[in-house]
């Protein structure tokens, strides 16, 4: 019985992971586009104010059960990877 329950939950997690994967890549596509524009306008990849705004908004809107600290850490990783993507796709490919 409990074994079956584990399997059901895992299936739900898998489904959510796929949604996350899709959403993260959707976000990445927007990041690349933004990177190209920033590059054309000669703006820096690193925008600390914008990053802070994201952290504030995400922690404010956090419904839980994830702790706000965990939300910050997760979004730090997403933003770190986005910055790397911007650098590689928009700036380095152009050089």
């Amino acid at each position: 019985m409990s074994k079956k329950k584990i399997e059901t939950i895992r299936k739900k997690i898998d489904k959510l992971d796929h949604q996350l994967l899709y959403l993260l890549n959707q976000r990445a596509e927007q990041v690349i586009e933004l990177g190209m524009i920033k590059h054309k306008l000669d703006l820096k990849v690193f925008d600390p104010k914008r990053e802070r705004d994201i952290f504030v908004r995400m922690t404010e809107k956090n419904p839980g059960p994830l702790h706000v600290d965990a939300i910050v850490r997760i979004f730090e990783r997403i933003i770190d990877e986005s910055r790397r993507l911007e650098r590689i796709e928009a700036y380095e490919k152009d050089e």
């Binding site: 990849v45 690193f46 600390p48 850490r73 730090e76 990783r77 770190d80 910055r83 650098r87």
Partner: protein
């Protein structure tokens, strides 16, 4: 590289460090902990001086996780490098032996010693022509003339020859005579010399400076390798310690430590390592037991009359006996000699 911030680092301080790292082309993995912020820095940090970041406001510590040397490191090349010097090899299953007088004193002297050493199966002959002596009044070596005699003695006995070069001006003349160039302990960080040795294509015997850390020795090897010459044999030759019963303290632990850090062969020089004749053979035996890829030893038919380092030089019969013992020890550690 990891950057750890102070517990009370301000967002502005963290931002400044972020900007500096990004400007240098690194990627970051930030992690905001409950009390401290930590950055994982991703990218080629070889050229970074960690102090440049340690001095920034808000930074507690900068930790290197990769070694500052690359070509010399075991992570760059997994398999052992085998350096061939004439018919001898260093770094393979076979232990390589180098022997000869401290200084080349005359044509007859080096020929006589070469002939005697050859009988033990030793394939590399050593002999100093440019001598880095502590006193400017001590015998300074025969120079190029000595190298000529060394080459003759090597050729007559089918042995390769190695000699030390102290000045980069002497490299090109030495190439006419020697099969391997030795960098002495006092020149281990003579970077101008090391850079020139990177441009040639014969093996280099690089001795550890008497106050050098193993990392500094590997950085010296990296200098030569960065120039394109990857045939390097590292040599532990004794370091300065508080103990003054022996001339130096032969750091045998350098052998297994270096062999883990680098793919380059590692040998020891027990003659300089202890500086006293009756201590040389025990240290030579210990080196082979510890896994050294070879030895360099000072041998003379009449050490009492040697021009330099006579007190640490073995008699030929002592050397013959030592080689016999070393063969047994080598087989015990799955090597041959």
């Amino acid at each position: 590289m990891i950057v750890v911030f102070n517990e009370n680092a301000t967002p502005v301080q963290i931002q400044k460090v972020t900007e500096k790292l990004l400007d240098k082309g690194f990627d970051l993995h930030r992690s905001t902990g409950t009390s401290q912020v930590v950055f994982g820095v991703v990218g080629d940090t070889l050229a970074v001086d960690t102090r440049d970041f340690e001095v920034l406001e808000g930074v507690h510590e900068v930790i290197r996780i990769s070694e500052p040397y690359k070509l010399a490191s075991r992570s760059f090349k997994k398999e052992d490098t085998i350096v061939k010097v004439g018919k001898a090899t260093f770094g393979g299953k076979k232990v390589g032996m180098i022997a000869g007088p401290c200084s080349i004193e005359s044509r007859d002297q080096i020929k006589k010693i070469a002939k005697m050493i050859k009988k033990t199966g030793t394939k590399v002959l050593r002999g100093g022509a440019y001598k880095p002596r502590t006193s400017p009044y001590a015998f300074q070596g025969m120079g190029e003339e000595g190298l000529k005699y060394l080459r003759e003695a090597g050729d007559m006995n089918d042995m390769a020859v190695v000699s030390e070069v102290m000045d980069r001006m002497d490299i090109i003349p030495a190439l006419k005579y020697v099969d391997m160039i030795q960098v002495g302990a006092r020149n281990m960080q003579n970077f101008a010399l090391l850079k020139e040795l990177g441009k040639i294509n014969i093996p280099i015997l690089l001795k550890r400076g008497m106050s050098a850390t193993l990392q500094e020795l590997l950085m010296a090897a990296e200098y030569i390798m960065a120039g394109g010459n990857h045939q390097i044999i590292l040599c532990e030759r004794g370091i300065r310690t508080f103990e003054n019963y022996t001339r130096n303290t032969l750091d045998i632990s350098a052998v297994p430590v270096l062999q883990k850090l680098t793919h380059l062969p590692v040998i020891t020089d027990p003659s300089h390592g202890v500086g006293i004749r009756d201590k040389v053979a025990p240290m030579a035996r210990a080196s082979i037991a510890a896994g050294a890829d070879g030895l360099i030893l000072e041998v003379h038919y009449d050490p009492e009359k040697a021009f330099s380092d006579g007190a640490q030089t073995l008699y030929v019969n002592q050397y013959e006996q030592l080689v016999k013992e070393l063969k047994i020890i080598a087989s015990a550690v799955n090597r041959t000699l």
